[in-house]
Each structure stands twice: as structure tokens, then as C-alpha cells.
Amino acid sequence: MITDRLDLTPAEFAAETGWELKPEGACKGDVCVPLGGAPFDAATAADRLGMAVVHDEQAGLWAIGPETVGGRALSSAEAPELVLPDVRTGEPLRLSSLRGRKVVIASWAPY
């Protein structure tokens, strides 16, 4: 995620990373990572979740990379929420709205 400040609220952090603040810590799917109990701090949460925080001083921006919990792209087999706009309508589609059906997400590109 891209941000011009690191004093993010838990809701802002969760919206971009999928990791929600719960009493157990930061949670996504069936995985929770303890954050140490102090008030929420995005830099600390990113560190505990193995997320790289890269500062672009010139542009005044930070980029927070995805988590590296367990050293794999997927830390849980529970599908993360994916929200992307439909190319024809611009309306966002939520992966979770397709529960009850099998889904194949095919990533492709035109040439």
C-alpha cells in the first residue's frame, strides 16, 4: 500500500492489507499474529507481519509491501478479500460475493 503518512488507523491498515486488528493481534483468515498489546502502530504491525516498509523521501511517500508470515505468499488457505472494478461497468466486485459457487480467478493480459 502507498501512504503519505505512517500514523494509520487500524481500519486504514486493514482496508489495504487485509490484516484486521483483533484482541489476539493482527488477523487474516484463520491466522493471527500478536502485536504486543501496545496501542496500534502501523510500523510495528508491519514489522511483526514481515512487511517491508520503503520510504521514498523525495516524493514524501511510504510503500508497505505484503506480509511474509510463514515465508509464503499465502499465510492461510482462506481466500483474502479481493475487490476490483469490472471493466465494463466500473462497479467493484467482491470475491466474497461469490460464496456458494466455485471460482477460477484467471489473471491474463491483452497484447
Binding site: 514481515g50 516498509v53 509464503r72 499465502l74 479481493l82 465494463r88 466486485l93 477460477v104 480467478i105
Partner: protein, 214 residues
Amino acid sequence: MGGADVLRPIVEEAGVTLPVLVDDTHRMDALFGVDNIPQNVWVDEDGMIVRPPEPGTPAPTPTDDPMAQLAFSLMTGDDPEAYSDRVRDWVANGASSTWALGPDEVIAASKPRPKEVSEAAACFELAQHRWRTEGFTDEVLGWFSRAHTLQPENITYKRQAYSAWSYGKRPEEMARFAQGPTPGHEDEWPFVSDFMADMATYMPEVADRLKPRS
């Protein structure tokens, strides 16, 4: 022109009825580990991933277009129906399908993600953000190159940078398609690698198929 504006007429002409989504910020990579295309993820009725991102091309639609035929043959290999057959088997048999993996298998089969890969994603996001804001500046090239160095096997990071650079510098159609230095302009190419070199390194079986046959 880019993104949805390029995609929309293609999707409309093809008469696709399924949802077609635009992933400008590579969410599929951050959330699932999609680092090249085409790659697919299978998700069951309960929202559980049963196959993590993997290459796979459905059986091609018959076409007279030689370029499309070449692309299909490169992607599907010797058995064009193989991947579609796997999907059909899962649709019919659900969790008891040979191809449906359990949760631990799914995690283990997902892409390795050391800290460098997270850092590469952050650098790539800065490159994308700044490219869209200020055009293809030296700083943008720097962020793209840092992402490429941190995760050289991520072909989507490279393809995006190659196309973005070519679009501004050498806007002719073939330069963008080639994703590498164009004849007579080799010295301008700012990246340490290019599409053909990446293919030879990371997808040797496809690169082999692209070689002229004697």
C-alpha cells in the same frame, strides 16, 4: 491509453459474460502471489483456496489468426485440453477431485515470499504510483529497477516496466510488444534484462518453442 480503456473493447468484442476485472495495482500479486500471467487461482464454495496461483491456459477457441495460434500453442503445450479437463474434474468432484488441494498443501504450494519479495512489491508500487503521477522519470526507473533486482523472477514487474518505458520512448506498436531493445536503438534500453532474456531464464520451455525450427 491504458488499463480499462484498452481492455473494454476486447472484452466487448469477445462477448465475455463472466466478470472481467481490472487490476491496476497488482492486487493479485500482493494477495495471492501472482507473479506472471497467465496464472489461475481456484476458490471453492466456502471461500477456501484449493489451488494457489499456477500457470494454466484453458482450451483455445479455434481461430484463423496465426499470431493467436502461436500464442495458444506456446501456452497450452502439447495437450490444449489438459488444463480445462482439470477444472472440469474439480467442478464435477469438488474436494474429492485429484486437483483440489487441502489448506496446508495450498499454503506450501504458494510462492515463496521472503522479505525481499515484500520489499520488491513496495518498490514496484512506488514506481507505479510515481509513473502515473509524473511519467517515466529517472526516479521511476530507479524504483522499477530496484524491484527487478529484489525479485528477478517476477515477470509482471518487468513486463510493466518494459511496456511503460517503451510507451513513452518508442510508442510504435512493435516496440511495446517486443518489450526489449529495438534494432538501431539498443543503447537506449535502460533495463538490465529484457523479455527474451527473462523467458530464457525463467520459462526455458517456452523460450525453446520460440526458437526457429530447422
